[in-house]
Amino acid sequence: MSSEVKLAVNLGGLEMKNPVTCASGTFGIGQEYGDFVDLESLGAITSKGVSAVAWKGNPYPRIAETPSGLLNTIGLQNPGVEAFCSQKLPWLSRFTTPLIVNVAGHSIDEYVAVIERLEREPRVAAYEVNISCPNVDAGGLALGTDPVLAAQVTRACRECTARPLIVKLTPNVTDVAAIACAVEEAGADAVSLINTLKGMSIDAHRRRPRTSRPVAGLSGPAIKPVALAMVWQVHQAVSLPILGMGGIRTGTDAVEFMLAGATAVAVGTGNFSNPRATAEVIEGIEDFCRAEGVTDVNELIGGLQC
């Protein structure tokens, strides 16, 4: 059973040598994990969110641990697109792994400004438009919960680029499939889901929330069942490829997302307890395929029997 497993996938035009990337905001641009993972081995690197100008992020405390989960309210702290291009991008030139830049904004104009600047950077392979961050006031989540607004952002971004355009969806909606349909209609090449779920942690003795913004975003294994259900719902509703994420720590977790309909997967919070998580998920997918006689990982996509 030592035959090669074909691991390459195509995520809406983005060629990945295997289905695994990192979830935005958990991995920097990879530099921080270069001591633990060969970044060349990843299917893609997804950057921390980048906005038109620098964002300071939210006050401390920004995280709280919950059973099998992590609440965060980082608030998309980043140095802005210009500093991203001049200070962060050059370091990535030593690798050939495709780079997906996560794009954040308070308004449609800001998303467009970020993409227009990044269009001049050949190192960028694709965009992930973040219309789903629960930790900023304007933009972010507000644009991702209304199908009309979600379509407007997508259309405006689509007009600036021919590169693969992935739109990142929030689980904080009644019907995620309706949002997915709207962004598909507006020209997205793929969707990624799920972003964090709104959640809260309270210190009863101090009668205070544990994070500086009382409502924060929940990630980790606690949200994996929610993420699987939403990937499956979206897979049934649209023909777009899906980048699935939410609590993935192992190859088997990743395979579950692919069976539910994901073409590729992202490892997020799992990087914190295991800095080698991305590499181990790739190995785990390959091991699963070998053991199950799967010769091409694409056979798994949407293969759920029910």
Binding site: E32, Y33, D35, L39, K56, E65, N72, G220, F272, S273
Partner: protein, 306 residues
């Protein structure tokens, strides 16, 4: 020779001879400053508990067989520990290194039982496994406040804050520095590393919150007396609870003494990616305690925003 500067230098040379990893960036180049050798790149290391003893109150000391970390760690660095039995946890536990024993490949961690993870830690026995990411963070003297070996130094430790300072006292004394140490704690029986300090310091002053020994109050009480008496130091290092560090850093900085503090913050990744452990600076920027610290220039910290 865990305590000597030459010992540390030879350890560092030995490590670079290992050619430990060609992946990613060399943090030792990026953060070369102070007079200790540049820090090594962190590793993910499986380790074994060899001893775990109760010290006093909620304080415990765990000894781990972790040979790579034991060789590489500099005073002031920390490890991010994962307890293999704890399935509900998505984060590692960051703990500063109390002492390294390169000749036996062991490290000692002093910790306080505060929550689920440290409670579980306190019940671990010799022979149990764990894994760690380390050594992490900037060591003492690496924030850039001093360039050479200081002639005189004052080290101030409150509670567990003495843990990262005890080895620094030994290293400084071995390099010829005249070291004064203030050891403070809530009560007499919780005074940490007092004997290690007494073995190398020219004087050791005690303060306790309850007045059970030495000055009645924070470490800042004997500190301010020393400064009032006109004692001047070429270097000061402070570690302890934030209110204690604030109370000590202000008079030291006001006296023009190059002062470093070691910041304890809620932390997720430990490698600079997630931006959870930020420490606001007077410049308006923020630093990450995990990679830009934990050791920082006390005069740059925005103490009133903490």
């Amino acid at each position: 020779m865990p305590g000597s500067l030459d010992g540390l230098r030879s350890q560092m040379t030995a490590f670079s001879d290992l050619g430990a990893g060609d992946l990613g960036t060399s943090m030792s180049d990026e953060y070369e400053c102070g007079w200790l050798p540049g820090r090594a790149r962190p590793v993910l290391e499986a380790c074994l508990v060899t001893a775990n003893t109760h010290l006093a109150g909620k304080n415990f000391m765990m000894t781990l067989a972790a040979p790579l970390t034991a060789q590489m760690a500099l005073p002031g660095q920390f490890v991010n520990l994962r307890l293999l039995q704890e399935r509900d946890s998505v984060l590692r536990v960051p703990i500063s290194i109390y002492q390294t024993h390169p000749e036996t490949g062991r490290i000692d961690l002093v910790y306080q039982v505060l929550g689920n993870s440290t409670n579980l830690m306190s019940r671990m026995e010799a022979g149990e496994g764990a894994d760690l990411v380390g050594p992490l963070g900037r060591a003492w003297t690496q924030s850039g406040v001093i360039a050479g070996v200081p002639k005189t130094a004052l080290l101030v430790g409150g509670g567990l804050g003495m843990a990262p300072l005890a080895t620094l006292a030994e290293v400084l004394a071995a390099a010829g520095t005249k070291v004064d140490v203030i050891v403070a704690a809530a009560t007499k029986k919780l005074l940490l590393a007092r004997r290690r300090a007494e073995a190398v310091a020219s004087q050791v002053l005690i303060a306790t919150d309850d007045g059970s020994e030495g000055d009645h109050g924070f470490a800042s009480v004997p500190l301010e007396r020393l400064l009032e008496k006109g004692r001047r130091y070429e270097y000061a290092a402070v570690c302890g609870p934030t209110p204690m560090m604030r109370a000590c850093a202000k008079p030291l900085v006001a006296a023009g003494i190059p002062t470093e503090v070691s910041m304890e913050r809620l932390m997720a990744c430990g490698v600079g990616a997630c931006l959870s452990c930020i420490v606001p600076q007077r410049s308006g920027e923020s630093l990450r305690a995990c990679v830009d610290g934990p050791v920082m220039d006390a005069s740059e910290v925005a103490w009133d925003e903490l």
